[in-house]
């Protein structure tokens, strides 16, 4: 091993293993591990790979549901979408790499998630990117932000997968630790579904794609499992060599080659190489398939000389896949790889299961018949990381924070300036993303949810549509991680309804601070409970997830930031939904409760108005009533669904009420329409900015019919305004020109980035 581990610290600790974990390794092997073996355990038992802190809690999530073909634990969740088509979806974080090198961090995040999707046999069809940064007043944030967006653009566009949406959140808590989450969905003919498992003694493991270098060595343990300080330049520099560089052209050829291999039925199992590289791919495929594997470490194509076996096994060089094939299929496999100029090498052989054991041994050898360098039970690496029951601690300031409620704060006389400051048009971001490739994007970035045709090369014909949204709200989750997470799920449902879709599955990316802090573990537990409760209430399965811990800097944890991805389906997609806007002469109808069920009627705790405008982070969240929420969401999905099916619908505009409350929702609709709106009857700033859940604004020429439909569905509905003219007038609170609002929204990001002209 390298000289760095020769200090006073024992090797296992330098690699990130605790003394207990090292003892466990000795117990498993019945002897002391050698250096290579220790390195394998260190990467595979890291937080990033083993979820050792979160697994105890993740078990509480509901994962079963109709249509679930593959649940959590595989590379991606898969849902049966009908018409012989399955949809694969996954979300991941690439937070720490992006904090160090924003372009490559974000780029390789996109590359990694794509591989998770085509590993399942699905062609990646869409990417979404929820991003979180500190304030753009700080030049470092601008560098991070522009770099991350450029990285997603540079990789995603080139690899040929459209980026159809995302989210943008700015909060000081991300200043040292930006969050870069990536969601990808793909589709496949149901019968092409493959799993990442090896089987058949004598079958071959073929490594496809890039050569293996030292990039990303230790990335798993160093980058993802240890906190770091963005303020310590020296520490950053030391970790920089661990950053991987993405090659979208290699990935593009890898996608085409792998899908061709699967189409030809040449592959028994396939697995991407992500965190922990070959160590992970070989041990996981063997463990899942209940077999063993011999790996010839000398057969791995390398891009650097003098690499040690542990470096080859743990390298996180990008754009690599491991395919399990029969010896008979090998020539055909090599031919397809040759056509796509994809490098391929036989690096492993499937071996027998242990007698009586669940899986076989993972043996690392120098030549298939050569000396054995490491010999461990495959399952012990993949599945048997000691769980870590970390202490939970409810934050001590909870009661005080709850009492510090901004709801009673005096409001401004004129709410216009507050409203304007909360509007931002993210087109500066999404204009850098190809969001149209594959001719599927019916609603792209900027809508409530992305809505896509369910179509792609090689798929059976279908009239169906798929909708996807990612949502988060660190302000809510910071006040109450449990209720806040449930409200985020609820918001996702409303977003899907606004494009006419009903939700079928959930994926989640839980971004939290340092799990060694008991409050963070409490937050994690609460977030998982909130997610479980919401999913149970709405009848949704969780089909995949990712936990990103150690998001902190200088000892300060980020606000709990669960990002919830929701997948929805539309049975027949023949027309675009009405969208965020309206026509002139329409009535604006508020569906859902006008006031909270209990006092205060218009709570402001956790609202954007309180948090962003006034730095008030206390108070209590409004209450979510899942049953009432369901009624509103179903009604909206039905009303919008009529339009989407190609029939004459009642609506000419639709938008859910979320961050920024009625005020922001109304203003966004006005900006979308480019037409004025007059709203009356709102009492005060609290009613304007309160973020009471379960509310959707719909614009219609036939308000009577909409209200009748609402009454029949048991949903409160009230006309609050009429469209026309050129100004947004909210009686007594706001009077602004729509053109000015539109300009302000469009200029917000370019101005914050100090762009010229």
């Amino acid at each position: 091993m390298s000289g760095a581990s020769q200090g006073s610290e024992p090797l296992h600790r330098a690699l990130g293993l605790t003394d207990d974990e090292r003892d466990r390794v000795v117990e498993i092997l019945g002897r002391a591990p050698n250096h290579l073996e220790l390195a394998l355990y260190a990467v595979m038992w890291s937080e990033h790979c083993s979820y050792k802190s979160s697994r105890v809690h993740l078990r509480r999530l509901p994962t079963e549901g109709p249509g679930v073909l593959v649940g959590p634990g595989e590379n991606a969740g898969v849902i049966d979408a009908g018409d012989g088509i399955a949809v694969a979806i996954r979300i991941e974080s690439h937070n720490h790499p992006s904090a160090i090198e924003p372009y490559q961090g974000a780029a390789t995040g996109v590359g990694g998630i794509l591989r998770d999707i085509f590993t399942m046999g699905a062609r990646p069809l869409a990417v979404m990117d929820p991003l979180f940064f500190g304030s753009l007043d700080d030049p470092k944030q601008r560098w991070l932000f522009e770099g991350v967006v450029a990285g997603i653009s540079g990789y995603g566009n080139s690899v040929g997968v459209p980026t159809v949406g995302g989210e943008l959140t700015f909060d000081p808590c991300y200043a040292q630790n930006p969050l870069v989450n990536v969601l990808c969905l793909g589709a496949l003919p149901v019968d092409r579904l493959v799993l990442g498992r090896a089987s058949g003694v004598g079958n071959l493991a073929v490594l496809l794609g890039s050569s293996t270098g030292r990039d990303g060595i230790g990335g798993v343990s160093v980058l993802a499992s240890a906190g770091f300080s963005g303020t310590e330049a020296a520490a950053d520099d030391a970790k920089r060599p661990s950053v991987q560089v993405g090659d979208p052209f290699e990935e593009k050829r890898l996608i085409e080659a792998c899908l061709a291999l699967l189409d030809e039925g040449l592959v028994i199992g396939i697995q991407d190489l992500g965190g922990a590289g070959l160590a992970c791919a070989t041990s996981e495929t063997a463990a899942r398939g209940g077999v063993g594997m011999d790996v010839d470490v000398t057969a791995v194509p390398r891009r650097e000389e003098g690499m040690e076996p542990w470096e080859v096994m743990t390298s996180e060089s990008q754009e690599r896949m491991l395919a399990i094939v029969t010896p008979e299929a090998l020539p055909a496999v090599l031919e397809i790889c040759g056509r796509w100029e994809v490098r391929s090498a036989v690096v492993g052989r499937v071996t027998e299961a242990d007698q009586g054991g669940s899986a076989g041994r993972l043996r690392i050898r120098e030549g298939f018949e050569g000396p054995v360098l490491a010999d461990v039970p495959a399952a012990s690496l993949a599945d048997e990381a000691p769980l870590c029951e970390r202490p939970l601690g409810r934050p001590g300031d909870r009661a005080a924070r709850r009492a510090d409620d901004p709801t009673g704060d005096p409001g401004p006389g004129d709410c216009g300036p507050d409203l304007v400051s909360m509007l931002g048009d993210p087109s500066w971001v999404y204009r850098q993303y190809d969001h149209q490739l594959f001719l599927n994007t019916v609603v792209g970035p900027g809508g409530d949810a992305a809505l896509l045709r369910l179509a792609g090369p090689g798929l059976p014909p279908s009239d169906r549509g798929i909708a996807v949204t990612t949502d988060s709200n660190p302000a809510w989750c910071s006040i109450d991680p449990r209720a806040g997470t449930a409200m985020v799920v609820a918001e996702g449902l409303a977003n899907l309804a606004c494009v006419g879709a009903h939700a079928v599955a959930v994926v989640n990316c839980l971004n939290l601070g340092n799990p060694e802090h008991p409050e963070v573990m409490w937050q994690l537990s609460e977030v998982i409970d909130g997610l479980s409760e919401a999913c149970a209430a709405f009848g949704l399965p969780v089909i995949g997830g990712n936990v990103s811990l150690y998001n902190e800097s200088a000892g300060v944890d980020i606000a709990p930031t669960p990002v919830i991805g929701l997948l929805g389906l539309v049975d027949a997609l023949h027309a675009a939904p009405p969208g965020i806007g309206y026509t002139a002469g329409a009535s604006m109808v508020l569906l859902g409760p006008r006031d909270g069920a209990t006092a205060p009627l218009h709570p402001l705790g956790g609202s954007r108005w309180a948090v962003e405008r006034h730095g008030r982070r206390g108070g209590a969240l409004p209450l979510l009533d899942p049953i009432a929420h369901r009624s509103v969401v179903d009604l909206v999905a039905e009303l919008v669904g009529t339009t989407v099916r190609g029939s004459d619908g009642l609506l000419c505009g639709v938008h859910d009420v979320s961050g920024g409350g009625l005020g922001v929702a109304l203003a966004e609709m006005a900006v979308g329409a480019g037409i004025g709106l007059r709203v009356s009857g709102l009492a005060d700033h609290a009613e304007l900015f309160s973020e009471l859940p379960s509310r959707v604004l719909v614009a219609t020429d036939r308000p009577g019919a909409v209200i009748d439909r609402a009454r029949a569905a048991g949903v409160p509905a009230v006309v609050i305004g009429e469209s026309g003219g050129a100004r947004l007038v909210i009686d007594g609170l706001v009077d602004l020109s729509v053109a000015g609002l539109r300009r302000g929204a469009a200029e917000a990001l370019p101005k914050a980035l100090h762009e010229e002209d």
Partner: protein, 226 residues
């Protein structure tokens, strides 16, 4: 009989299915042509679609122009066959010398995916044969290197010979003379940065690209001398 249109696929091309699908819906018979093929016999037209041929490494189109298929495309073009390069395809055609000038980084040095207003400025090409001069079209662009540049002599030639096929009404990428698309002298080779196939469906928001694709299919179906 439906016109047979070859859609060239280099490693890294990504709009081939979109173009083939859009042409197919308009009655064309689109087939994918692999870049390593050296024959394109029997085709009535060739489209080089968008994407990132060879990853756009070195320069967009710089490596693609050496693929075997490009020799066949050059012969086909010389014989008067309709050849259209869309986006990356335009870049390939300029690198291959089938069209003059070059495509440079956008003025703002950022990728641009958005819908822009365009005006048809010549009907004398295989892509605009059915479209009256002055027609306004709204179509998506999707590129990082879409800023058309050429020297003054070339620009004067393009103007004098009525070879500027499409101009931006809103020039976001900084192209010389607002050029969005040009043709060769004979009008049978056309390159353009906007994507007509992305404007070929009501469901996706625009059908303005349809007349261009129809013009191409009409040109492909027309009998050719040679």
């Amino acid at each position: 009989m439906a016109a047979r249109v070859g859609v060239v696929v280099f490693p890294g091309t990504n709009c081939e299915h979109d173009v083939a699908g859009a042409l197919g819906r308009l009655g064309g018979r689109a087939e994918l042509v692999w870049h390593a093929d050296s024959s394109i016999d029997g085709l009535d037209a060739v489209v080089i679609p968008g994407g990132f041929a060879h990853g756009d490494y070195l320069r967009p189109g710089a490596l693609a122009r050496f693929s075997p298929v490009m020799e066949a495309v050059a012969l086909f073009a010389a014989a008067g066959g309709p050849v259209v390069g869309i986006c990356n395809g335009f870049q390939v055609l300029t690198e291959a010398g089938l069209l003059p000038g070059a495509l440079q980084k956008n003025r703002r040095l950022r990728f641009l995916c958005t819908t822009v207003p365009l005006r048809v400025t010549s009907s004398r090409s295989v892509l605009t044969g059915l479209v009256p001069v002055g027609t306004e079209l709204s179509m998506p662009i999707n590129h990082f290197l879409g800023s058309y540049v050429c020297d003054d002599v070339t620009l004067a030639e393009l103007r004098d010979e009525d070879r500027i096929v499409l101009r931006y009404e809103e020039n976001l990428n900084g192209s010389v003379d607002d050029i969005a698309g040009i043709s060769n002298r004979a009008g049978n080779v056309v390159g353009l940065m906007p994507h007509p196939e992305r404007a070929s469906s009501e469901l996706l928001g625009s059908t303005d690209g349809v007349v261009l694709l129809q013009s191409l299919l009409a040109a492909a179906a027309a009998p050719r001398a040679a």
